[in-house]
Symmetry: D3
Subunit: 243 residues, 6 copies
């Protein structure tokens, strides 16, 4: 089985970190093909970055078809472009947020997602409500920029831990979901420290992808995710750097 | 006051039709600047088209800055790119669906939205739920392709009317919302025939834009819609025609 | 265009303050006709006051018909008698709460309403839920009596500001809605201080009324807001027979 | 124990019918004091009638204090003025809709309320949602005017039965709630015919009133239902000053 | 009228305390038959205990049939086995949580339930949501083991009072529900101290049972609570003590 | 990896059918240990059967510990005893309904569950709402008794197919979930006939169990699913055959 892990931002070091997390949990016989978007922002922080990451994501989904992947994982906790990718693709497509909250739902009645910047907090809260988990999950921001996590900086980890501790104390959280692909390498350590399940979206999505492929299931093509109608698109994308 | 009406698809005849609807309701002193996206699909039908229309939309929002617009309206009932545009822009940004359902909510306790293809029905239903109107509004598809509406074809109008009649009979609809920018020219006639309020999103959005501008209000830049962080984007957009 | 601004309490100084706020935002060509209820309580604080303000409100709506108003605004944040007025009237009727939360919804994902007394807090929270904004808006009371606001007393403003600061800190509010018609004159100042959108219901309702009138839309008379059936009312309260 | 049964419309024959239903289920030792509003509409059909029935209702609640009632029941399925009455009164106040849906909730997972005119259907549906039963109860209108029920007309009963049959067939209703005080006399017969619980609001409210009184419980005076603040009411409507 | 009060745990002192509370509020002519489960855990704290208390409960419901009870009350705030008992029984069956929250709903817009251990908090919160009161009621745990309450220990009462005070201060609670059958004897005292309605589930359930019986209503046997189909059960229950 | 598949009813032929379905999808290296409850009803149809199946289920979970299973699957679509089992067990426990609706949620925006008897329809609908999928999934009963499915009877399959066709036509279902463990063998055939994803709970649960085990995750022992407190249980279970 081949799973395409696409990082929808253009930072290859994040792709590599996610690929390590994916390969660490992949079943024997599952190959992880890691790909990085070649168009768009170097990190996804908020709605603007997210929207402009989608063409690069879809382009990569198309490019990588030659590799014969059996399912695709969008390696960003905002589930960037997930619905468009499902409409586009013939194989199952998974997002980190949806995979992680579903996984947490099997383990805990109430849980908290700790994400990076405040600008992503409500965005993720809206996703979680859309997935039907709004009454069970709380979202917290830890005031860490996505790329800070690349450095393994102790300050970033300190902020993350402080927010997890607030989740346990104030929210009555029974499990913790790490709300950024860049936190994947901290999962095991945090689970040991806090003694509750700590769920990483990359790992969760790999297992959901394996599940769907091995069940012979793929996205319904009836109605919502019907294949795009044939039409001629116009133009080439210009530079969207906000500055 | 200058309102930018951006059609996020690339079909200029749709832009023109929407501009006519916008100008018909604009207040004295409101100038409608009509713009058409120069990148992306010729019509937006479903998640794939919608996602790929966003870069062209944002690009046009940026390009048209020189025109000094005071607010922008995204002329598509799917509210394509609305949240990204709000994060990007310093002025208010309105979508047709949100504007129309809010307007209907002042006039009726229960109403029905009639859209085009089945593939857009659940997408719009999800939007409506997100806007808090899920308990009051039902969404129906009338099996008309967006561009069919361009022709003023009697067959398309017949399908639309049949679905409105079902909404009145079966849903107990007290008002009707037209769920596609391409239906704007039919509003008055349908309202006369059926004797209930018929709301067109283009007209509704023009009035909401005028309202916000004249109140001196603009999108909050605290948290969710904070301005995009400065970062370097990569790449140029390739061709996304699905075939 | 003539908009009837009815204060459903009997305090004319509050009417005047609201009229100033209304005229400050009214479009050129919009005339604000300010009217004060001649029956009922001098301020509306809780369910009892609210219910007993309705006959005076409906009576005034009827009396003022001679003025030829095109839409009516009920100048109280509790949306007192809104549904009865919509059933009674042939023209659009707007409430402050509904207008304000809808306006806030275009500008912010999450916002907080700051009202006067604790006894109005849950009442407004129930309204907000009914309008579909329960998941996005929080309501706070600032422990100010409605008529205290008439005096421009610094103590009242201090309490209001303290509560706004709590909303920003604790609720993650991206915008603030002022939950009492008597706060209208503070809008601009508070917006400057806090740097987030501050929405006043009087101003918001004026723009919604202008929008509906200029769109040629009025309340649906199908089902919920059907005109009252002709029947003889009894009692000394003055005649409320709808015909 | 004395229970005040107030009919908020001015039709004494409806009061009498409801009093018969109330006395039929009252416990030994419970006295039913039946009172009819002396101000307002002869029947309550929709929001306008309902709002204008409230002053007469509150006036009667005050007048009857001399009778020493221990709880009050508002004998209308729209729960007209319920919240204002709770704020006004020192004793428990019950409405028919809230009492009936609560009772049905102990007996069935899903049930249907059959009311009179279409104009009351959404009004009651909104009440039911407010009481938290929106996911369990459906509301249907049977196209009967309230006063038609006074005549025991077979045509009205035929329409009611037809709608109950649709509820059983199409809604999977496990119980039926009669959505008008004027249907109280049909309860037993309909229950026998259809073999499912049939709940009348008058009877349900009598038992809830007895329950609260015998438990020594009354409406909380903290926050929402705090006693009206002392203030001078204005106008010819009669004096509603709460003190 | 005979009401069967079944304690689904095996601790007879708890049965006796609940029976005292039940008899204190029972109407003249209502006989309380107190029964204690003869199988299962000595107290119900969490899902495991609850599930294993059900056979003993159903067995006792069956055994006590000879006593000719007219309704049954399951004397545990977790509403243990309530739905199974309703399917099994021909007479109405009441639970403490459902009865108490419904009663609170007649008295207050917002209220707080104070239960025993943290492990029961979310369990009760889920019940409350299922009963439609999730938006109105908050659940708090006071960190008291069920059997601690048996001793009338001042420490347990101190913890309970501290949590009630937090509910009043932080939740804006307008009423308090005691979330354990073992707290029934504290109701009156707490109500006097705090001046808000304090609702005990045992008392509330007695009145709901009396109400249903005197109205001649019983559980619908259509669909959800249809009588169990005749089938042969296998086996005898082993020891489930978790250690 | 060893997965315990426990059939909570006592019919071994159903266990075998489910075991075949489980083994058909299990990963290489996953051993399915099939076990049948030795206490309780031969099929689970409604709340009564479900509640009385739990002790047998928990007993079997305990008995099979010696086998060293890594996760357990409760092989009944009602998710019988799921929460008690999670509290009891140290390893992950999966239910068919939760696993299946989560799986469907990755593939379709809207889907329909087709179950057996009407008495199970609302029970499953309540589960689905609890899992947050109430707005996306509809539940239909096909009027088939559970054990009818054992015979491979064409009549039962005809009823099931008729209901699936109604789901596609009337509900706009984009996928179908088979709402009974006894339907597992029909999955592939139905998917081929209808061209939409058809999801079987047994297969879905196997993959979720494999996912959790391979991720090193297990049920949170904080709060809701904390291990049962040590206490002495009383009694032996008698015969609960309802006749």
């Amino acid at each position: 089985m081949r799973l395409l892990l696409i990082n929808p931002n253009t930072t290859t070091s994040m792709t590599e970190k996610a690929a390590v997390a994916a390969r660490a949990v992949a079943a024997t016989g599952t190959e992880i093909i890691a790909a990085t978007s070649r168009m768009g922002p170097p990190s996804i922080e908020g709605y603007y970055d997210g929207a402009l990451a989608v063409p690069g994501l879809l382009s990569e989904l198309k490019e990588q078809r030659a590799s014969g992947y059996d399912a695709a994982i969008i390696s960003c906790f905002d589930d960037t472009g997930l619905e468009a990718a499902r409409a586009f693709s013939d194989v199952p497509v998974l997002g980190l947020c949806e995979s992680a909250v579903v996984t947490a739902g099997f383990l805990a009645q109430r849980f908290t997602i700790v994400t990076t910047l405040e600008r992503s907090r409500v965005l993720i809260d809206n996703l979680v409500r859309h997935y039907g988990m709004g009454g069970r999950a709380k979202v917290r921001a830890s005031d860490i920029a996505v790329l800070e996590l690349e450095d393994g900086a102790p300050e970033a980890i300190g902020k993350l831990r402080a927010e997890i501790e607030r989740a346990l104390d104030e929210d009555g959280a029974e499990a913790i979901v790490l709300g950024c692909a860049g936190m994947a390498d901290l999962t095991r350590e945090l689970q040991e420290i806090y003694g509750v399940p700590v769920i990483d979206g990359v790992a969760a999505a790999v297992k959901q992808a394996e599940a769907l492929v091995s069940l012979g299931l793929t996205t319904s093509k009836r109605s919502s995710y019907a294949a795009p109608l044939p039409k001629s698109f116009t133009g080439t994308m210009s530079d969207f750097s906000p500055v």
